[in-house]
């Protein structure tokens, strides 16, 4: 049941929503991690809703808080499309890279994956295991090597083999560590000597709280994030921070991850999502 379904039913029916109901709605909104500011703003909008067109009005309000950017994948019209996947530690970058690669491959395009996480122990092996599983070429360098040089080599090899897509996995890093963010910028800069980076996807863990906003902000400042992969939506967390990010930073959620298998991955459908909140 959607967050607002009880509200709509009550407003439409007896046209009454008791103080206790308002309190319950507030606590559910807060519990979804959209944060106190957006919660307050949504509650104010809801208070203005009339019974006749409650559903339509709320739909409009909710839509107005979403990003206005396109959710479509950005492709390079003339040549290789380069996608970089970035994010803080443990948000599911490597798994998302594998899922995305598998999806691209299944759609009939050729894809090469760069194992750019040279820091975390066995991250390269983790991606290679995925590569074997989904039958995708994984380019890797030495452990603890320079991630920019791994990405550069991968870009070169992908371009030579005329791959249509290159997906670059990167090491998890906390957005407040400026040396690590510099390193990430360098990876992007170096790859762009071979081919422009068309899309930078930020993984946000659905369990993340208000810190997700700082993550999105700083990663955007550093490598210009073009979309969000909201991961681990199969748990009990609702991932509301991603909506707060859409609202505040205008970065669209493009993909959602819902499990550990490569097929647990789909494009984010905003219309369907809002429908889900209302009904």
């Amino acid at each position: 049941m959607g967050l607002f379904s009880k509200f709509i039913a009550k407003i439409k029916g007896e046209n009454s929503f008791t103080p206790a109901d308002w309190q319950e709605l507030e606590s559910e909104l807060l519990a979804s991690d959209i944060g106190p500011t957006l919660t307050r703003s949504l509650l104010e909008s809801a208070r203005r809703v009339k019974s006749e067109n409650a559903q339509e009005a709320l739909k409009q309000t909710l839509t107005s808080h979403l990003s206005t950017q396109s959710r479509a994948s950005i492709a390079n019209p003339d040549g290789m499309t380069v996608v970089m996947v970035v994010g803080v530690n443990g948000t599911g970058k490597t798994t998302s890279v594998a899922k995305l690669a598998s999806r691209i491959k299944n759609s009939g395009s050729s894809v090469v994956v760069a194992a750019g996480d040279t820091f975390r122990a066995a991250a390269v092996e983790q991606l290679q295991t995925w590569g074997t599983r989904i039958n995708v070429t994984v380019v890797s360098g030495k452990p603890n090597g320079d991630p920019a040089s791994v990405a550069f080599d991968a870009a070169k090899r992908a371009a030579q083999s005329q791959a249509q897509f290159l997906i670059i996995d990167t090491a998890g890093r906390l957005h407040n560590k400026s040396d690590l963010m510099d390193e990430l910028e360098k990876v992007k800069r170096v790859v762009e000597k071979i081919s422009p980076v068309n899309e930078v996807l930020l993984t946000i863990d659905a369990t993340t709280g208000q810190n997700g906003m700082a993550q999105a902000k700083l990663f955007s400042e550093s490598v210009n994030v073009t979309g969000i992969i909201l991961t681990k939506l199969d748990g009990s967390a609702r991932g509301g921070i991603a909506l707060a990010i859409e609202n505040e930073l205008n970065i669209p959620i493009k993909w959602i991850g819902t499990g550990e298998s490569e097929s647990d991955f789909s494009a984010f459908d905003a219309g369907e999502y809002i429908e889900g909140l209302l009904t």
Binding site: A31, A121, G235, S236
Partner: protein
Amino acid sequence: MFDSLSARFTSAFSSLRSRGKISAADLDSTYAEIKQALLESDVALEVVEAFIAEVSEKSNQALSTIQSGSNQANAIFDVVNSSLVEILGGAARRVRFSKNPPTVIMLAGLQGAGKTTLAGKLAKFYADQGNTPLLVAADLQRPNAVTQLQVVGESINVPVFAPEPGNGVGDPVKTAKAGVEFAKSKQYNMVIVDTAGRLGIDADLMKEASDIRDAVKPDEILFVVDAMIGQDAVRTSQAFLNGVGFDGVVLTKLDGDARGGAALSIASLTKRPIMFASTGEKLSDFDIFYPERMASRILGMGDVATLAEQAKKAFDSDKSAKLEAKFASGEDFTLEDFLDQLSAMSKMGSMSKLMGMLPGGGQMKQLTKGANFDESEIVRTKAIIQSMTPRERQEPKVLNGSRRARIALGAGLKVSDVNNLVDRFSAAQKMMRQIRNGGVPAGMAGMGMPAMAPKPANIPPKKKSKSGNPAKRALEESQ
């Protein structure tokens, strides 16, 4: 967006202070500010409400005996702070060692919380204290989790029991049990069992976790949780508590800038102590949990202790010691040394970030918004030094016109920039010679930079006269 939090908190109290006597309405608006602050720190609503109720009750008791407004404000602040510390650290304790070794520690938590890294950190922490831990690779789910644990174990010289390849192959319950048996037979005194990440709502996997528990009968089950977690901390910690049970909590990724309010939710709802904090990428970045620090962090009050630690980490202690010895022996401070210090400084993070960690830094940041720190100055200076040959760095006096022109070209800057740096450096070098001849302690080395890694113990928060807490200090100073 959170910068104003401590400012808001401070202002709530200063408006209280300006009143002759505090009215009920003043109190309500103060509590509303605290509520907002806690919600923005990811504390769960139900916990916030219970907390506010507790604070207001305690405050009312305290206030009835105090007359002046400023003392009342102080009293409320103390209540807020001490209530936070109490919830966070009320039941703090260390790992209970088993009377019949090995002591078995089992880790559980969501995917990506940092269990495998933590297993390594915990093993190192106890190995360094003279224990003989064995790591058991019972995460057979995530691709190459077993390999990761093996690499981690190798790097800290702790053996890893990993009979199964993982990647979905092998029985984690049997592996865990065999691991403990193995440790017994080889007389390891501690076993740390890494398990797969699982969701609280996944009944099958929770069952698996409780099967592992029943098989190894752990002395401690530690719930590993990411400090960045939001409201889901409530449901997830409850699910783990019911599903497998845990005795203590470990907060990971505390080196991020999340306020970590979830810690308050978990501690308050599960009544389990937070035992450890994990604070960085290196396996030594791990410590016992300090409730006072966490309270300051949740309230956005600055974190001098963490700042000091970051400085200690950034400024390699070997290098610092060498530099100090060098200075004492009468050798000159070179551009090479200067470069080391600049690199260490940039490792600590941006100036504005560092300022945020200072008490009252939030407001300072607001004040200096226009007068931006020029972070790129450090980058430019580094570029100039890096464009020099080793000899030039050691003996700046060899820098003639053509060398300077080459360096400027290499650094992508003007010759005047190079001149400028060299001039300033010579002046500093000269000054340092004078200081040395005047017998000023060597700790001053480093052109006024915090080179000698202040130890946390030397940092002022313990001082009686002034509080390390900005709001509190503002109160004290204004009296």
